[in-house]
Amino acid sequence: MTTDVAVIEEVFAKVALLDRLTPSQRRRLARLATTRSFREGTVIVRQGDTSMALYVLLSGRVRIEKRSEQGSTVEIDQVGRGGFFGEMGLIDDVPRSATVVALESTECALLARWDFQTELREDPYIALALLPVLNQRIRSLQEQLASARSG
C-alpha cells in the first residue's frame, strides 16, 4: 500500500475519538497505521470477533450491521470516506460489536490497539484529549439508560 501518511492524518482528524489531538499527535498515529483493501462484499470484521484495530475508511463505502439476540440482522449505518469503526476497541478490550461489510471496493487505514496504547503511555496528553469524548459517551449511555427505564 502506498497511501500517503498525510491522507491518513487528514481522515484521522474526522474521527471523534482523535479530533481533539494535536496535528503532530495525529501524525504520529498516522505513521503507525497500515492500509488494507477490501473487495466489494467482503466481511471486514464480524460481530463477536477479536478486536485488534480501529478502521478508518480512506475510500469506498461499508454497511455496519448488528445481529439481534433473536438472530435477525439489522443495518445500523452506512459510512464512506472518513468514516470509521472499532474506535472503542482502542481503549476497551471487548469483541467487535457489529459486522462491517464492504459495499464497494474499499480501502481502510488500520491503527492497532497496542500501537495506540504505546503512544498513550509515551504521551499522556493524548489521554487527556480523549477524556471529553469518553465523557460524552458516558453521558449518552446514561441518557439511553434513563430513557429505557422511563419508557
Binding site: D49, T50, D93, W114
Partner: protein, 559 residues
C-alpha cells in the same frame, strides 16, 4: 521464601528477558510478515540442509518461498511417517539435522498415535510463541507475578521408543526444564504431571494451589476449569483439613505417585480458617472467592469451546478470559494479544505457514498462500513448516481470519478438517468411528443398518450414536453396542480414551431412530440438489444438530 525485593528484581529481569528474547522480534516482524516468513523458512531449511530429507529435496538450492514450493511437496503425517519411525528407532539426520530430544504424541488420523519429533531448535520455536504470549499477559496484568500461576501440565514421559527416547507432552518437558528461579512463580510442581489417577490429580492440584495467592490459571480446555471448580467444592472438607494439618489425605496418593508430592507442606491454620469460613457462609468453595486476586483465565476459546466458556462465570465470576492461542503438538500457530474473541496474531517468527482456501482443499490446482495474502473473514487450511521436521505439513485444521495486527493476519481456530470432530481435544476421525463400529458389528451380535456419531452438548458432552437397527435389537443389545463402540474408540484413539478416563467426555448414548430414517435423509439431500450417487450420510458428523429433526424411539447410554 524470597523477600519482596528479590521477587520484584526477578520479575523485572523476567519481563526484560521475555521482551528482548522474543516479544520485540515478533512485534517488529508483524509490520512485514512476508519478509519475516521467508527469512524464517530459509533459516530453517539451511539448518536442515544436511538431513536426509533436506538432501532429497535440495534444501541447499532453495532461495525463496517459490523455490521451496517447487522442491517440496505438501505432506501429511502419513507421508512423513516412514522418516519419523526411523527417528523413533534412534536414527539421526533423517528429517532434521539436530537430534530429537523426545517425541510429542498426538492422536493420528488412521488410529495409531502420531509422534512429532521435538528437537532443540523446535523447542526454541515453540517456546518463542510461549514467551510472546507470556510477555503480553504480564504487560497487561502487571501484578500477576505478585502471586502464583496455576498451570497444570501433562506427562512428558508416557513411554519410550525402541531407541529409549521419551514420548509424551511438550508441556511437561518445558515445565521440567524451566530454570529454578522461574519455577518459583508456579504453584504446581513438575512431578504432578506423573499422576495418572484423575481424582488424585485434581485433589493434589488443589492441595498445592489452595494455600497460594493464585493470579492466573492456564488450562487448554475451559471444561477442565469448570471441573477444577467442581472438585474444589467436592473436596472442600479434606482439603481444609490437610491445609490445617500440613498433610495430604492418603486416599489421594495412589500407588505410583511420586513420593515428593505428599511431603513438604507446613500446617496453615489461618488459611484453613479462611476457607472454612467461606465454606460455612456460601456452602461451597468458589475459585473467585478462594483466590480473590485471580486476574485472568487463559484457555482455548475457538472451535467448540464457547459451549464451555458460557459456564465459567458461575465459578470464576466476570474475570477476563484470554485465548491460549492456536497451537498443537505440531506447532504454535498464533498468539492472542488481547482478551476479546478467540483470535491470535499469526506466529510469523515461530514457524513458516502456508494457507489453502477452505473450498480448494481437494483440488489438484489448489492455491497456496502466505501470511500476507490472506483475506478477512475467509477460512483456510493451514500447512506448517517447522524445525520438528514437518515440511508443508497439512495439520487438517481450518482457521478464519478475524482481523489484522499491522500487516499480519489475526486467525482463529474454527474446526478440524473434514471427517473429524474434537470437542475436548479427542480429534476423532470418521475412519476411527467406522473402524470401531465394524469391530462391534463383526462380533455378529448386532444388527446395525445405519449409524452416525456426533457430539452433543451436556455436562460433560458425549457422542450420540444415531443408529437404525434391525428388529432383533433389544434395549440390552443396544446398550451393549454402545459400550462396544465406546471401548473400540478408546482402543483406536488415545486422546478419546484419555478424555473418557478424565470424565471430560461422557459415555456415548445410542439413540435408536425410526426405521426408514436414513432413506428419508438421503431423499432430502437429493431433493436439495445433490447427485444421488454422491449422497453419503456420514458416520461421523461435525454438525452438532445432526439429530435435531430425527425421530428417536429409544435412548440408551453405554456402560
Amino acid at each position: 521464601m524470597r523477600s519482596r525485593g528479590e521477587r520484584s528484581t526477578l520479575q523485572a529481569l523476567l519481563r526484560r528477558w521475555l521482551k528482548f528474547s522474543a516479544a520485540d522480534e515478533f512485534d517488529d516482524a508483524t509490520w512485514d510478515p512476508r519478509f519475516a516468513q521467508e527469512r524464517k523458512l530459509l533459516e530453517l531449511l539451511e539448518r536442515n540442509a544436511d538431513s536426509e530429507y533436506g538432501r532429497e529435496h535440495g534444501f541447499d538450492r532453495i532461495r525463496s518461498i517459490e523455490d521451496y514450493r517447487a522442491s517440496v511437496p505438501p505432506n501429511t503425517y502419513e507421508t512423513l511417517e516412514p522418516y519419523i519411525l526411523r527417528m523413533c528407532k534412534g536414527q539421526s539426520g533423517v528429517l532434521t539435522s539436530d537430534v530429537a530430544l523426545m517425541f510429542a504424541t498426538t492422536s493420528g488420523t488412521t488410529g495409531s498415535a502420531k509422534y512429532i519429533p521435538v528437537t532443540p531448535s523446535y523447542l526454541e520455536e515453540y517456546s518463542h510463541g510461549v514467551h510472546v504470549h507470556t510477555y503480553r499477559i504480564f504487560t497487561d496484568f502487571p501484578d500477576l507475578l505478585e502471586g502464583k500461576l496455576l498451570v497444570p501440565t501433562s506427562n512428558d514421559v508416557e513411554g519410550r521408543t525402541e531407541a529409549g527416547l521419551p514420548y509424551g507432552a511438550i508441556s511437561g518437558y518445558l515445565t521440567r526444564t524451566q530454570p529454578r528461579p522461574i519455577k518459583r512463580f508456579y504453584a504446581l510442581p513438575y512431578e504432578l504431571c506423573k499422576v495418572k489417577d484423575v481424582e488424585a490429580k485434581y485433589y493434589l492440584t488443589l492441595r498445592y494451589a489452595l494455600p497460594e495467592d493464585i493470579r492466573l490459571i492456564v488450562m487448554p480446555n475451559p471444561s477442565s476449569m469448570t471441573l477444577l471448580a467442581d472438585k474444589l467444592t467436592a473436596y472442600a472438607e479434606p482439603l481444609i483439613h490437610d491445609i490445617r494439618t500440613g498433610s495430604v489425605d492418603r486416599a489421594y496418593l495412589p500407588e505410583g505417585t511420586p513420593a515428593s508430592l505428599g511431603r513438604g507442606f507446613a500446617p496453615e491454620p489461618r488459611r484453613a480458617d479462611e476457607l472454612a469460613s467461606i465454606l460455612r457462609s456460601s456452602g461451597k468453595l468458589l475459585p473467585s472467592e478462594v483466590w480473590p486476586n485471580l486476574r485472568l483465565l487463559s484457555c482455548w476459546k475457538g472451535g467448540t469451546m464457547p459451549l464451555y466458556l458460557r459456564k465459567l462465570p458461575d465459578a470464576y465470576g466476570d474475570l477476563p478470559v484470554r485465548d491460549l492461542g492456536y497451537m498443537a503438538s505440531e506447532g504454535r500457530g498464533a498468539t492472542p494479544l488481547v482478551n476479546s474473541g478467540a483470535g491470535g496474531v499469526l506466529n510469523v517468527t515461530s514457524h513458516f505457514f502456508e494457507f489453502v482456501p477452505e473450498e480448494q482443499r481437494d483440488r489438484d490446482d489448489k492455491e497456496f498462500l502466505t501470511a500476507d495474502e490472506l483475506e478477512s473473514n475467509r477460512e483456510y487450511f493451514v500447512y506448517f513448516t517447522t524445525s520438528a521436521g514437518l515440511y508443508r505439513y497439512d495439520i487438517n485444521d481450518v482457521v478464519r481470519v478475524v482481523d489484522f495486527y499491522r500487516n499480519t493476519p489475526v486467525i482463529q481456530f474454527v474446526r478440524k478438517g473434514q471427517g473429524m470432530t474434537s470437542i475436548t481435544g479427542e480429534k476423532l476421525t470418521e475412519s476411527q468411528v467406522t473402524g470401531a463400529l465394524l469391530d462391534a458389528v463383526e462380533t455378529g451380535r448386532f444388527d446395525v443398518r445405519h449409524f452416525t456419531a456426533c457430539v452433543e452438548w451436556d455436562e460433560p458432552p458425549y457422542y450420540a450414536l444415531y443408529t437404525e437397527v434391525g428388529e432383533s435389537m433389544t434395549s440390552d443389545l443396544c446398550r451393549e453396542l454402545a459400550t462396544a463402540v465406546d471401548r473400540a474408540l478408546s482402543a483406536r484413539n488415545i486422546e478419546y480414551e484419555a478424555k473418557r478416563d478424565s470424565q471430560r467426555l461422557g459415555a456415548p448414548v445410542l439413540k435408536r431412530v425410526a426405521p426408514g430414517t436414513y432413506d428419508a435423509l438421503r431423499q432430502k439431500r437429493v431433493a436439495e440438489g445433490a447427485p444421488e450417487a454422491q449422497v453419503k450420510i456420514p458416520q461421523l458428523s461435525t454438525n452438532m444438530e445432526f439429530g435435531k429433526d430425527l425421530e428417536v424411539l429409544e435412548v440408551v447410554r453405554a456402560g
